[in-house]
Symmetry: C2
Subunit: 136 residues, 2 copies
DNA sequence: TCTTGACTTTGAAGTTACTTCAAGGTTGAT
DNA sequence: ATCAACCTTGAAGTAACTTCAAAGTCAAGA
């Protein structure tokens, strides 16, 4: 039996996050003591840790809820799980490509200035102010 | 002289965004007609386009405000601009590295399952449920 | 026993950068 | 006159939390 702070330490997240997960029904309502404190068993903490691992993989709260539902039906086929992972991987890969485009543009901007001029002659601001920006 | 929708079309963002930028003081209050409509000049629209380009580069609202302040002082040295660009580039590169780690983990998870088993035997959920996760 | 500090509770508001909505006024064309 | 397409405002919704205030609880030391 653990208090919320102990559960938080074991699962590796703040206590406020546990309360939040309960509020949005990602986790079931915790058992309460006579003092109204929440108390957790090892199994509860494992479920919480599962949630944290999935969140660290970038899954949304809704997707984590899907994963939990799937994990709760051991006899169903697992293709739903595989689909969730694949979808998440695609979205991460897409975001990486977007950010790489961004980084390339920022490096291009950087090369437009050596940092030794008055702003009026700065190639960076000139580029940012250029109406033909989108052609580049 | 352009209405807000015309300015939005020219600058390439929704009208609601222009109102928002005005509300948070990223842009000065627009001139108003007797009907209380906002009206914009070409210079206003260029400033708005500058903002949109900077936002597309991933700069926060605050950073864009910094860029605008710098652009408004043509006689100052431009090293402040260069610093902002470098900082933004670093944060984009950092985010890319984080996402690449994520993608690698997701691919590793994917390889733990061929999608043809009942969930009880799914390597993905087994990995997500594994307390030794962090060692991997 | 008393006190102190660390813990717990709740609901509400703050965060980021917008978007969406409701309710109502204006414009321009047919 | 009427109609669509504008415009106005303030408030609320979005994602996933975090922070805060006010108040109750617990354990340990003096
Ligand atoms: Zn320069
Ligand atoms: Zn420069
Ligand atoms: Zn499998
Ligand atoms: Zn599987």
């Amino acid at each position: 039996m653990f208090t919320i702070a102990q559960a938080a330490r074991r699962a590796g997240c703040p206590a406020s996050t546990i309360r939040y997960y309960e509020r949005v029904r990602l986790l079931p309502s915790a058992r309460r003591g006579t003092n109204d404190y929440r108390y957790y068993e090892v199994a509860d903490i494992e479920r919480l840790a599962f949630v944290n691992r999935a969140r660290q993989l970038g899954f949304s709260i809704d997707a984590v809820a899907d994963l939990l539902r799937l994990a709760d039906h051991p006899h169903s086929p697992c293709d739903g799980v595989d689909t969730l992972i694949a979808t998440q991987l695609h979205s991460v890969e897409k975001r990486i490509r977007q950010l790489q485009t961004l980084a390339a543009r920022l490096r291009q901007l950087q090369s437009a200035c050596d940092g030794e001029h008055p702003i009026r002659e700065c190639g960076i601001l000139a580029a940012l102010s250029d109406t033909r920006w989108n052609e580049a």
